[in-house]
């Protein structure tokens, strides 16, 4: 375990920022946390988490795939990718850190998504332990311990000290870089903080959320459940839940006519949208009920069925606080509980 006085936190950021792009949560104009590239004067946000998840760094909302330039009768095909720079993501919470392993299962499975892969390879993830979880948090349901977050480096902030521990070779390299600022010690302080945090975790209102019976074995039963009509009734079909979600990974590929060529890009899609997976024959999900069902079936049933029981949710609670009509995965899971018993 390494430690650093918080007074020197900016020195640490400056040191990392010198050699790599450093991103960390800072407060935006509306007072909410958002990842920004560090520059002198920025301070780490005190918010529990960012509104947008950390998936943006590996799977950005829009991304150029290929450019076509037309000249006369010839078409030039241009790969717009430039050399990906190394970057450090500081202050990722345990829930978002888990989301990367879920996204990996999608994008790094054969055929590998090289755009995503390149970003993953160049990113170093520095996680930060939670000390004040909120009522919307339920990461522990998925076996995540926010007091012992994963990532290349795990950090804890206690009183005036930052404690750091490397978990991977990438993490070792970062701590070696920061070595001039760091000193040894802090195991006891971290253990004490973890004990305190875990006592709060046990008191979280959603700590006992049960997902028993979800997963592939009850697929048809859940699919045909008549609960969906009632659950989806208030849904306004916006994309808030999908866009703040750290594990939603559906995207669309679009062409933009630039005037002298075509820019092919991908952008996040939302299963809540009426044109989601629209094809030549039309749309397979005609009403909001089916689209709404798709989102939750994907997270609670299809994903675990295809990935050894791992759910497509990390319990970050973003959809709980952001949904315009306060509908969310917890309400859905609770409503469906009776269906699979």
């Amino acid at each position: 375990m390494k430690q650093l006085s918080l007074e020197k936190l900016n020195d640490l950021f400056a040191l990392i920022g010198q050699t790599e792009a450093l991103y960390l949560p800072v407060d935006d104009a509306a007072g909410q946390a958002a990842y920004r590239r560090w520059q002198p004067g920025y301070t780490l946000s005190k918010a529990l988490n960012t509104v947008r998840s950390a998936k943006d760094f590996f799977f950005p909302q829009t991304e150029n795939l290929v450019d076509f330039k037309m000249q006369g009768k010839s078409i030039e095909v241009i790969d717009p990718r430039t050399e990906q720079e190394n970057f450090v993501l500081f202050g990722v919470r345990a829930c978002d850190a888990r989301s990367f392993s879920i996204l990996d299962k999608v994008f790094l499975a054969d055929p590998v998504d090289t755009y995503y892969q390149s970003r993953r390879e160049h990113g170093t993830i520095v996680t930060l332990a939670c000390t004040r979880p909120e009522e919307t948090c339920f990461c522990t349901v998925f076996g995540i311990d926010p007091a012992e977050p994963a990532g290349d480096v795990s950090c804890w902030i206690e009183e005036n000290t930052l404690f750091m521990k490397a978990n991977t070779p990438k993490g070792d390299a970062l701590l070696t870089l920061a070595a001039p600022l760091l000193s040894e010690g802090g195991d006891d302080a971290v253990a004490a903080q973890q004990a305190a945090t875990r006592s709060v975790l046990a008191r979280l209102p959603l700590a006992k959320l049960s997902l028993d019976g979800m997963g592939g074995e009850s697929m048809l039963k859940l699919f045909d459940s008549d609960k969906w009509a009632e659950l989806s009734q208030a849904c306004i079909g916006c994309g808030t839940c999908t866009f703040v979600c750290p594990t939603c990974q559906c995207y669309d590929i679009k062409d933009f006519n630039t005037g002298d060529g075509v820019r092919r890009f991908r952008c996040w899609d939302s299963c809540m949208y009426s044109d989601f997976t629209r094809m030549a024959h039309g749309n397979p999900r005609l009403t909001q009920r089916e689209r709404f069902r798709q989102r939750f079936m994907h997270k609670l049933v299809y994903f675990p069925a295809n990935n050894h029981g791992e759910y497509g949710c990390v319990g970050c609670g973003r959809c709980l606080s952001k949904c315009p009509v306060s509908m969310n995965i917890v309400k859905v899971a609770k409503a469906l509980e009776g269906e699979v018993k």
Partner: protein, 324 residues
Amino acid sequence: MQEMMIAKARELLKSGAVQRVLGWKAGEFAYDVEPAVFESAQELEKSFVYNDFCGSNLSKYLIAQSRKEGKTLVFLKPCDTYSFSQLLAEHRIVRENVYAIGIPCQGKTDGETLKGKGFTGILSAQCEGDTFTVHTLYGDKTAARADVLPERCLNCKSKKHMIYDELLGEDGEVLDSHRFDMVEKLEKMTPDERFAFWRGELSRCIRCNACRNVCPACTCEKCVFDNDASGIAQKAAADSFEENMFHIIRAFHVAGRCTDCGECSRVCPQNIPLHLLNRKFIKDINELYGAYQAGEDPDAKSPLTDYTMNDAEPGIVYHRGGNQ
């Protein structure tokens, strides 16, 4: 009030006067109240609520509900009645299938607003008189009502119901509000400052379309931004231009029809003050074409489907208001 509403709803359901009730349903926490349809007395008893978190405007749901067989009972707060009246004027709601009950409103807060004021780990929240008591994982805290109300309620334009079949509680008055203060403040800035302000705000947009989908004035069956054939369909803002375009067009399309209910800003996950764009149009309309409040008079012509021979020329923009 909640008890009165449940009793009324039960009575109307029982007599067969209405087939369903559109109201608000309790959630997991104190604040995550969700719009819901109730079809039986049991459902009402179980989860119907009316409290300080019932901010969502139910009028847009009537577009679908009023097309179902039988009557729908709906509870409308004063500002919701403006939207209801406007939707009726636009022939979006089947009036004879709606039984509207006006209910009073003292301003509604929401979980996001409480969290923004530093209440984290909210387990429950009650309001007695003018004091909110919030029980959190980290201790109990109190706050004055006025301190935890969102901007739209602090600048409430009216406590008067525009249209209803029945009223529970007393009707209020149209209020003098300061709702255009921020618009004025922006107008006084230089164009560079305004540009910087709006870039700072709109660049946070994640194009979730919540502002559009929740808006009672946005009722196109197929939005131009969802229509591939329109040539400007966007699923995400791939360029800052698209952020600007979406928000200009969204606000323009509801200009003259927007009742200023403030739902767009309430639902924005990035807390972008979208209502300012709508209020700019309202303020301009008031100044240039005479005072007009959408949803107030169902027979009034909307300012953008009307004209006079002596209207101001567009060139007036070069001279009026704003810093040059």
